[in-house]
Symmetry: C2
Amino acid sequence: MAGELAFIARLRDLASHPAARGLNDDCAVLEVGSETLILTHDSLAQGVHYLASQDMADVAWRLVATNLSDLAAKGAEPLGVLIGYTLGRDDERFLDGLGEALRHYNVPLLGGDTITAEGPRTLGLTAIGRATHRPVPSRAGAQVGDGVWITGAVGAAMIGLEALQSGDHDPALSLPYRRPDALLAQGQALAPLVTAMMDLSDGLLLDAHRMGTASGVTLAIDSAAVPLAAPEQRRNEALRWGDDYQLLFTLPPSAVPPVAAYHIGTVEAWQDAPLILDGQPLVDANHLGWQHEA
Amino acid sequence: MAGELAFIARLRDLASHPAARGLNDDCAVLEVGSETLILTHDSLAQGVHYLASQDMADVAWRLVATNLSDLAAKGAEPLGVLIGYTLGRDDERFLDGLGEALRHYNVPLLGGDTITAEGPRTLGLTAIGRATHRPVPSRAGAQVGDGVWITGAVGAAMIGLEALQSGDHDPALSLPYRRPDALLAQGQALAPLVTAMMDLSDGLLLDAHRMGTASGVTLAIDSAAVPLAAPEQRRNEALRWGDDYQLLFTLPPSAVPPVAAYHIGTVEAWQDAPLILDGQPLVDANHLGWQHEA
């Protein structure tokens, strides 16, 4: 982890262009002519981000959906994807799932690279979109007095992964983990109203901690207000579990979200920590979620 | 190989958007507002596209240069890159080389993803550019009567890799393999004039075969006219060796290239093969070069 953080710190030095947003955001935001492009690249490594035994159609879906979820957090309309694919087990299934996901989101495959490699595979996808609203939402805009909102429940991916690992007798139970949904329509509807927005890839608490840090404010969250897709006794775990891909956003106190959403807290002036949970300041980001990404 | 070709054929079915150019070109060409974006993604796999023992600074350079070379073939001006990086050996050296390449080409790092994974690494990079001339050159435009041209010698990467593998007592000898050059300025100067253009990543003969196929014409190449960066007795090998990243292009007979270039043949009406070398039709693409990419 230390090595990864040091690496990302040096990478950040290289990403000095304003479009890179200091690598602190979900996407790059690049002005080109009269358009604002939104760009993101995420990878999935076998054995780390997906199970070696998993249906490759689900892995393909996940690869598309996680990248489109980053675009959703920017209120972007997807223009297409480029794929970096390593051939291996069940390539046909991968293509099945890739086709299903691209049709579901009505996003064209624009290009990419297919290679042969040794060992466990790393699959990459780049998604490109256009902003539907400017300024483009960032993680850094939360204002004191805003409400903190979430589009839906957390914990579904946790339950889904466990179902998958235990034999998946009810495929509907594992679906939220296997086929996450990128909330593109919600992101576009919210973009003109939010002061800050991000997608939840690494866990509500960790991602809220990042939003507070980026915005220089304290997000005070009431854990009991967070909708749960898991048994109540697992609330603490669900708040720290990643892969749910809900949108976390802040709204001025008078604004009403135009999509289904839950009010889970308020934005307060900085109080020694970027996140307060049930009155308890959480200074350290460790153990709040899944830490892996630049 | 059969699996890879079948995979790419199915991938092509998914890439039905005109911007994908049927996956037959070096890049996607996407109209957005008043701009024409050029997009490409290439991966390098350890043990396949680079030596496991290689200096990671050179690998980083290569990752940047090979993608920018695709933009060069479109006459594009680079706008930035996104990186998909897997942590491992010599991450610091990778960052050194990445920084050197980005500064050399004056291209910003816009974003990406840093992950941890198991086994040999796959590194990916997406480059995005804007067209400097429209229509954007493709592989498919070669016209009967055109001249066939190349920007420089082939064989330097072959000699360079051998120097590297044999202990690299003269680092200048391995430089063309370790640090290939993306011919961005040449590509931009040529774009308004060429009828077809591509970069040579997989060998002159294989890439010329592809250009002939895409254009529905026969490229008649005089092997003795091809400039060589290797001993004469290795001419046949050098014509089939990849990684030289010269630009191959066709020009109307009256046009004069605005950059250093060598006339190596002519475009003829289709004669049973996309490529004729020294009067010999080469129907089959096998054994003409390095076949690995979509």
